[in-house]
């Protein structure tokens, strides 16, 4: 025994320590009361007292209960057995499976050293026009999918799983943090039905779970990814939906521990909390981790402190925009804010690079013209502006795409588009090849050669 409970609130428990108690931050303690084991993690220690955060509900707990140390700490299975399984944040299986020969590893591993990190990788095409064109992805990248509530982050993550994981069947880890249980289960069922469960491992700390669970899912997911990278030498795909919820959970815990918050109630440790997690997502000479991280934007505030801090770790970001969604243009990507560090003339080549510049130029002018039209009407535009206006609307429509995972909403089959087709099509639209074609024909198609449009 290391101590007794003296105070209880919803997300923290204070303990009076015994004289010979030897405990450290992050240790796992437990108590057994009325036959139920409840676990706690040590959050702070003073001379005689320690603050613990409870992993389970505190309803029914009372003062005076004895606490013991759980020597294993928070840990998760670290073997081939993780594939095809579903875990909760604390490393317990929640899909009804049982692993017989248990081989576990603590979920707080050390970061990679400067020397170990490898930053080279090949380009990884997603088949999604607007991503491959504006924000191409490299193996080993951290890609953020940023968006406010209900603009299509989860659909995009699922499309990426469909286009990359299903196509290449590389080992993957899906971490559900603070998102809908329904979606988690649907993804699990879909993969199971398509016989694709054997190469993926899943961790869920969803929005119905308490803040502790939501804050730990990411660590468990990282441990699984590290197993695949380090022990199996794999190029791992790590899908995190949604990394913002990790920060949100940390805020809740910090607030319960009565720590002084910074703006919007975020914890003072915001930056270090995020760095601690993001620095673990890296590639080595042995294997790589490419991560796709959905980032929720609270109150549609892109400059939110947490969102900005997360985005400083990203190699590429895709920003989803409510005004696009409002117009029914999906994926609702804001092309002005979406980019990646691959957009470099030396990497993607002059043609692709120039096309991006030209498209952005067109669409910037288009936005200005929209304002003019709102006052004066289209007829007042010069002929040159009229061309820009109509071609831009075609480009804008061309960047929509039917998604495989959204067939239920759109009733249109999904399309995977090759980058060379994308570049050709865009170049053709800009050069006026389709000036005589009606703009709505460009909505929800794959490549132009694969559509009803004839040049």
């Amino acid at each position: 025994m290391v101590g007794k409970i003296i105070e209880i609130s919803e997300l923290n428990v204070k303990v009076l320590l015994t004289d010979d108690a030897r405990i450290e931050l992050g240790d796992l303690l437990y108590t057994i009361y009325e036959g139920v084991k409840r676990r706690f993690e040590v959050a702070s220690i003073s001379e005689k007292e320690a603050l613990l955060i409870p992993l389970e509900s505190v309803i029914g707990l009372k003062r005076g209960l004895d606490l013991y140390v759980d020597n294993e700490g928070l840990s998760i299975e670290y073997s081939k057995n993780i594939l095809g399984k579903m875990f909760n944040s604390y490393g317990d299986l929640i899909d009804g499976n049982v692993i017989n020969s248990i081989k576990k590893k603590n979920i707080y591993d050390k970061n990679l050293s400067f020397k170990e990190i490898n930053i080279n990788g090949d380009i990884m095409w997603t088949g999604i026009k607007v991503i491959d064109f504006f924000a191409p992805i490299q193996k080993g990248f951290k890609i953020g999918l940023l968006g406010g509530a209900g603009v299509g982050k989860t659909v995009l993550i699922k499309e990426l799983i469909n286009n990359i994981y299903k196509k290449f069947k590389s080992n993957s880890v899906f971490v559900g943090v603070g998102e809908r249980s329904r979606e988690g289960k649907e993804l699990y069922d879909e993969l199971k039905e398509a016989n694709l469960l054997d190469k993926i491992s899943m961790v869920f700390g969803q929005m119905g779970d308490n803040a502790i669970s939501r804050s730990k899912a990411i660590y468990s997911g990282l441990t699984l990814s590290e197993y695949l990278r380090d022990e199996l030498g794999q190029d791992v795909l790590l899908f995190i939906d949604n990394i913002y919820r990790f920060v949100q959970a940390k805020s809740e815990i910090s607030s319960e521990l009565k720590r002084v918050p910074i703006e919007n109630g975020y914890p003072t440790t915001l930056i270090s909390d995020i760095s601690e997690v993001e620095e673990r997502i890296n590639s080595t000479d042995n294997g790589s981790i490419t991560s796709f991280q959905a980032v929720y934007i609270p109150a549609d505030d892109l400059f939110d402190e947490a969102v900005q801090t997360i985005s400083s770790h990203l190699d590429g970001q895709i920003v989803l925009d409510r005004s696009q969604a409002e117009k029914g243009l999906y994926p609702a990507i804001n092309i002005f804010k979406s980019t990646s560090s691959l957009v470099d003339i030396d990497i993607i080549g002059k043609n692709h690079f120039d096309l991006i510049t030209e498209v952005l130029k067109h669409l910037t002018r288009y936005n200005e013209l929209e304002e003019i039209i709102a006052v004066l009407g289209i007829d007042e535009l010069s002929n040159e502006d009229k061309l820009i206006f109509y071609r831009s609307r075609k480009l804008r429509n061309y960047f929509t795409q039917p998604m495989f995972v959204a067939e239920a909403y759109t009733n249109i089959k999904g399309k995977f588009v090759d980058i060379n087709d994308i570049l050709n099509d865009i170049s053709d639209i800009l050069n006026g090849k389709y000036d005589d074609v009606s703009e709505e024909l460009f909505l929800y198609i794959g490549s132009i050669k694969d559509s009803n449009i004839s040049g």
Binding site: I6, E7, I8, S9, E10, V58, G60, L61, K62, R63, I94, D95, A149, G150, R180, S181, R182, K185, Y188, F204, Q206, M207, G208, D209, N210, A211, Q248, S251, E252, S254, S255, E256, K258, V260, P261, N264, G265, Y266, P298, A299, D300, R322, A325, E326, K327, G328, I373, L376, G377, I378, D379, A408, Y409, T410, N411, I412, D435, V437, S438, E439
Partner: protein
């Protein structure tokens, strides 16, 4: 004389001893509105029900070293410093009667229509346990609202959480009442939850539902405006606990939460009075979790039962990007946005089709309506977007095809206008739109050539 005093003393000591055997009691030392601090109560457990004399009761919301904080739920007469508080050895619970269907009840088992307690009551957890991910199955059965704009374009399925959001007086509550009335003879139990509404409003709603025979399968669970804030804060959890009981025995349940903005404010008040740290907009850090764990109780259970939730959120000046709104949008499976502009124009139900979303879409529609729905939605959104751009343009100068698009769109929009309590069945929806399709396919042939002239 002495023996007389001794007699009284002995009597008192005996009483105290008795109480000590039966109860463990404490003394009120601080009163802050409905938050009361009590010393003593050594054996108290978290979330236990505590009685204060015979005049009030509440639950333990915080256990400190030397005292306990009680949130008061019911007060019959004033509490004073020095009043005695008694343990009950029991977690705070909600009470529901089998006779509650057809009645207006509170969360303590009282029938508000007759102002009496029900005879036989079932005790339920104030908050039911989360449904594990593995016990959930796909949401794919439709729940018809009888409203064309919803059933056809943004459908709701059994087990879905669909938010209704909009300004005051845009018909949010009406939409849910329409939905409840439309469940007649469909074997769905409805629970209308009134959070902080006036007695007058609740009576009106009761009368509306009674008049239309909807009270035969509906319970109204109310926490009226003048209840203590902790009651308002607990009310939706209690309602979902009742829903959970029915779902577990295989029923389909529809829960309306009217409304979560009021609930968020009650929760904020309670948190701040309990000395929690304020975050964004002064809401406590766990306000997201307060709503996410509540709405995660909605699900399609593998046993066949389901809980569908229609939460209501009130906005100001049609802005759905404020903190609470985006929180709830990011939890629910879609949102029906109500627009005050449409309401004023007489386009009722005043749904803003551009901002509304259903994340489940065609998954919850039958095949015959799914194809039609996807088509109508695409046409409607495309019309609304085009209308915005070309509204200023001169109708007479428009190309034939554009002019037709504008007039077709107008016709389409007019088919979505509907009076209250006049549901349209799935078959009638199909009939309503079939006519249009015939005309359109004829015109398509005639207008083929015009398309190319548009630009």
């Amino acid at each position: 004389m002495e023996s007389y005093i001794d007699g009284i003393l002995n009597e008192k000591i005996k009483k105290i001893k008795e109480e000590k055997n039966v109860y463990n009691f404490g003394t009120v030392v601080k009163i802050n509105d409905y938050i009361v601090e009590v010393t003593g109560l050594d054996n108290v457990t978290f979330y236990e029900r505590i009685n204060i004399e015979n005049k009030a009761y509440g639950y333990v919301s915080l256990i400190l070293k030397d005292s306990v904080i009680i949130s008061i739920l019911k007060i019959d007469s004033k509490i004073f410093i020095g009043d005695r508080a008694f343990l009950t050895g029991e977690e705070i619970k909600t009470y529901i009667s089998k006779e509650a269907i057809g009645r207006v009840v509170d969360i303590f088992g009282n029938d508000l229509l007759s102002d009496k307690k029900f005879d036989s009551l079932t005790k339920l957890k104030m908050e039911s346990k989360q449904i594990p991910i593995i016990d959930r199955t796909q949401v794919n059965r439709p729940l018809y609202t009888g409203i064309v704009g919803i059933d056809l374009i943004y459908p709701i399925g059994k087990g879905q959480r669909q938010l209704i959001i909009g300004d005051k007086k845009t018909g949010k509550t009406q939409l849910t009442l329409d939905t409840i009335v439309n469940q007649k003879d469909k074997d769905v139990i409805c629970i209308y939850t009134a959070i902080g509404k006036t007695k007058k409003d609740i009576k009106k709603i009761y009368n509306e539902l009674l008049k239309r025979g909807a009270m035969n399968y509906t319970i109204i669970i109310a926490a009226t405006n003048d209840e203590k804030t902790p009651v308002l804060s607990l009310c939706p959890y209690a309602a979902l606990s009742v829903a959970n009981m029915y779902m577990k025995s295989g029923f389909d349940v529809l829960v309306v939460l009217d409304d979560l903005t009021r609930h968020a404010k009650a929760y904020r008040e309670l948190s701040l009075l309990s000395n929690k740290t304020p975050g964004r907009d002064a809401y406590p850090s766990d306000i997201f979790y307060a709503h996410s764990r509540l709405l995660e109780k909605g699900c399609q259970h593998k046993n066949g039962g389901s809980i569908t939730i229609l939460p209501i959120v009130e906005t100001k000046a049609d802005d759905i990007t404020d903190y609470i709104s985006t929180n709830v949008i990011s939890i629910t499976d879609g949102q029906i946005v109500m627009s005050s502009k449409n309401f004023q124009k007489g386009e009722k139900p005043a749904i803003n089709y551009q901002l509304s979303v259903s994340r489940l879409g065609g998954n919850v529609q039958t095949d015959k309506i799914k194809a039609l729905g996807a088509k109508v939605r695409r046409e409607l959104l495309s019309y609304l977007e085009v209308r915005e751009v070309y509204e200023m343009a001169n109708m007479d100068d428009m190309s034939e095809s554009l002019r037709k698009r504008m007039s077709d769109g107008k016709k389409l929009l007019s088919k979505l206008i509907q009076y209250k309590y006049s549901p349209i069945s799935e078959d009638d929806i199909i009939k309503l739109f079939e006519e249009k399709e015939d005309i359109e396919s004829n015109n398509d042939i005639n207008n083929k050539e015009d398309d190319s002239n548009e630009n």
